[in-house]
Subunit: 575 residues, 2 copies
């Protein structure tokens, strides 16, 4: 990670008058051993997405999956509402939606040193030597960002820490850094297993290059190759991720495996600020080569950055990203109104396929939402017409929606043929619009411009994506489908089974409580089916009797393994 | 070109009730020999940009420069306000800003055949044999798009036509097509001279490939290579352009030459709809190879598409594009209010350079605006503060603005340091906002969301670009500069001498007549200089005594060569 103006932000929370001061050594103010109380009931607080109890969160870090538990770490400033003072927060989940706050996993090791983004692996074979009696040792690999006394950037080096208790507590390796550097722009290592070796991708951010390193033991790293000047450059590269991913045919059968390299750019994305692109290719342990020279984006909106793939998914790829954008993340209204800023996206299941006509595509399926489905609020099939669901009584204020259109006679479509999904606040007359617009090569659009809870010069209103809806097998008829989650201040859409996806933040002044699905000017024979479910509030089950969800404590909801019971803080400060 | 729903559009103007009917043979309604009266006084009508007298315009075509005259052809529907019925309109200019309407240059050659986009060359050596006694013969190379009787797509083939009078009138070659095809997605040939040969790039649109062909005589073409799956794919490739371009160092000295390949995608651009990307590389007459695998965009907003480079600029590259986006071009309010749709961008001078840190960049300088400058309305130098110019008395309602900020002490910048340029309508309280925002890696932003003249689900409000403003030689201080033209419903900005550029359409309900330049929270020592000029109305000088500017007549303003006096219509119909 790199926040756009980290020093300004650090200074801002250290003291409003010292606008250009040096960053404060954070640990003095950080609750190292005491819980952080979180109120997850705010009108903007997502109910099925992860957000930190209080403070500022950015990139997901160190994600791994072990013994049925998803471990999510994240860039965390527990003492401020803007970036700075970076720790690794931690949360766990069994279902990918219901997250339990855990104790902060990595603290800054020294004054003017922050723990930036990185990854984690399960060192099953004890290659590191940290785990003589274990096959479940965890090693985190991350950037330590040093700042000089005058506040200017110092070197960014790669360091490791290890955990004997499946990732709940870590101890810094006593011979860090494992990759030294004099550069202040060298960060975000992601490590994967390749054969009998470890492979790391890490960003030389301002040189628009990724370094690929190898190691037998996670301690000694050897440079192997660079991958440079690919795709959109923006103003710098960040947060590379490399993962092996299944290639599936149109019937969903896995026919091959390829590697996907994701690469975030920030600032300078086409839509402004941050974005994530990906490349498909082959990886031989030391070199990544692309299948073609195309540039593809994970999302068509602007609120998904720095996504990681969970380590240890055994042939599957599951990812999630930071649901925000550096252009406005430090100004969004959740900070002043509710004391927190940023959530993660929903988890996505990723695979590669060759889509009709468009060719190679990474699919972003919504991770199975069944565990969080509440009651069915509506199931209806219609031609042209309208379905309205009042969800003001839904406690979570969150919905899961499926809409499918089948039997579209392509020759009879007009440029007025639309299926609109509009979420409204009858109280304030605000609305979040989205829909499928069959004119103009059938883009799907989202418009958050009719909400009034956030006025920011970079908070773009409208997003769209071209979606080729023709069914290649029966070109005279077409079908189209979407899945969506709306969650108080977040809207995530998955089109055509995940061929396109987007995460969109939105900020109403009053809760949206009504959804209209309206099909207009569809040709005769078209059938629209709409299904709407309420979603459970995943946080309600985490609250204590006072309604508070604690952070910075090792979770007790029982979904994790026995290891987490060992609440022994082993964090060291030997950078 | 391909309009997103060409058949729908053609049908729409052929008769509103026949929404799915076959395209009408356009020539029946087209004024082949009579003038088309144009009213260029409308409140939204640009005064220093080219727009057609009436009807719908899209891609620039056939652009060349000869004997001091810029020739601009364009995709033109003279009988409708949406795409369809494609002709080649024509206009000429000496200064790049003052355009004179000329007679329509290419008519559809047959029923259900339209003249799509293409290019033109000066056949100095009479390689074609069309010009036995001339060194100024013009050959146009373009796509003929055939439609079947049932309205479905027929083949797109490449054809040529030639002109003995420097491009005012054309005759179809009697052995067209010069490249045959059965594909309905093969279009937009751009031809350049390479050594003793001609080279063409042409799009296999839905295969995400460009074909490179060579020819000794513009008639016989041989396939040489393909350039496939580069950059952003969108849903199809269109309008490739290839040009040799000077490489200049930081002092402006030409040190090398490289080729630039531009490539438009539509639909499916990151910002929605249409966009143009470019690749820098080497060209050997048959193959184009890129310098790197990066993807770069010409603009940071969404209203510049299908740009061409003028043929015949002798070592310089001058381009202009279609200032619109297929997502909303057929709905913009100029159609119903004023009877025309679409303008071209301003001309831009292009060269390559290696920008500090960012590296290889194509620069888009504003073409010398001196000829259109009116009076100086304001010249002021200040620190923090505000300059206001009321331009309600400026007849053109168009301005040229320069703003320069020097001596910025980088260490003292805060995230509140801004230089804002805001254009306002005091009558309606609408505003067009833009400015330089030093927080967040210094993006420049434009916000057209506070204007109320156009409500469209794809008309995105906000654009921004990351601009690395640090002066590499003296990293502790920075400077920044912009040039801008505002022209009734068009705003074009050029940042840091053209390192970034954008064309932005906007639609106020009342004319914007006041501009505020406000510098806030700049560190001590920063100096802001602002200069504002009125712009002349280039169309006023073209109007007859009734105030009408005629189209579809060979121009008489005297700027072109003697050749244009030969008003002989030689257009044939032998497809």
């Amino acid at each position: 990670m790199l926040c756009p103006s980290l020093l300004l932000s650090v200074a801002a929370f250290a003291g409003a008058t010292a606008a250009q001061g040096a960053p404060t050594y954070a640990n003095l103010a950080v609750p190292t051993g005491t819980p952080i109380p979180g109120n997850y009931t705010g009108a903007l607080r997502p109910q099925v997405h992860y957000s930190p109890p209080v403070g500022f969160m950015n990139d997901p870090n160190g994600m791994f999956y072990l013994n049925g538990v998803f471990h999510l770490y994240y860039q965390y400033n527990p003492t401020g509402l803007t970036a700075g003072n970076q720790h690794w927060g931690h949360a766990t989940s069994v279902d990918g939606y219901t997250w339990e706050n855990q104790a902060i996993a990595l603290f800054p090791p020294a004054e003017r040193v922050y723990v930036f983004s990185g990854s984690a692996v399960v060192d099953v074979n004890n290659t590191s030597g940290f785990f003589p009696d274990q096959d479940n040792g965890i090693v985190a690999i991350f950037t330590l960002a040093h700042y000089n006394e005058d506040g200017s950037d110092g070197p960014q080096t790669q360091a490791i820490a290890y955990s004997h208790d499946e990732g709940y507590t870590f101890r810094y390796y006593d011979q860090n850094p494992v990759i030294n550097s004099t550069s202040s722009q060298f960060r975000d290592p992601k490590v994967i297993r390749y054969g009998d070796s470890w492979a790391m991708v890490v960003a030389y951010s301002q040189e628009f290059a990724l370094g690929i390193f190898t190691s037998p033991d996670l301690k000694e790293w050897t440079w192997a190759s660079n991958f440079t000047h690919h795709g959109l450059l923006g103003a710098q590269y960040e947060c590379p991720n490399l993962v092996k991913m299944p290639v599936r045919d149109q019937d969903g059968v896995t026919v091959d495996e390829k590697y996907v390299l994701t690469l975030s750019v920030q600032p300078g994305a086409p839509l402004g600020g941050s974005t994530t692109q990906y490349f498909m290719g082959n990886f031989n342990g030391t070199h990544f080569s692309t299948l073609d020279a195309a540039t593809r984006l994970t999302d068509f909106a602007k609120d998904n950055y720095a996504a990681q793939f969970f380590y240890g998914m055994e042939g599957n790829a599951v990812s999630l990203g930071w649901a925000s954008n550096w252009q406005y993340t430090q100004q969004v209204p959740t900070g002043n109104l509710e004391g927190w800023r940023s959530a993660m996206t929903l988890p996505r299941v990723n695979y590669l396929t060759k889509a009709p006509r468009i060719g190679w595509t990474m699919v972003d399926e919504i991770y199975d939402p069944k565990p969080i489905l509440g009651e069915s609020l509506k199931t209806e099939t219609m031609g042209n017409g309208r379905v309205t669901v009042d969800y003001s009584e839904v406690e979570s204020n969150a919905l899961y929606i499926e809409a499918n259109v089948t039997g579209i006679n392509v020759a009879k479509l007009t440029s007025f043929s639309t299926v609109n999904l509009t979420f409204k606040s009858p109280a304030s007359d605000e609305s979040l619009r989205s829909g499928f617009y069959f004119g103009g090569d059938s883009p799907f659009f989202v418009d958050r411009g009719l909400l009034r809870g956030f006025d920011n010069i970079f908070f773009t209103d409208k997003f769209s994506v071209a979606d080729v809806y023709y069914d290649s097998l029966t070109p005279k008829t077409a079908s189209w489908r979407m899945q969506a989650v709306i969650d108080r201040s977040m809207y995530e859409v998955f089109l055509d089974g995940g061929r396109h996806a987007a995460t969109v933040l939105f900020y109403p002044t009053h809760p949206l409580t009504r959804v209209d699905v309206a099909a207009q000017d569809l040709p005769e024979g078209a059938q629209v089916s709409v299904a709407v479910w309420s979603l459970k509030s995943t946080w309600a089950g985490m609250a204590n009797q006072q309604g508070t969800v604690l952070g910075n404590v090792t979770g007790t909801s029982g979904h994790a393994t026995a290891a987490k019971k060992r609440i022994i803080y082993e964090g060291g400060f030997s950078a």
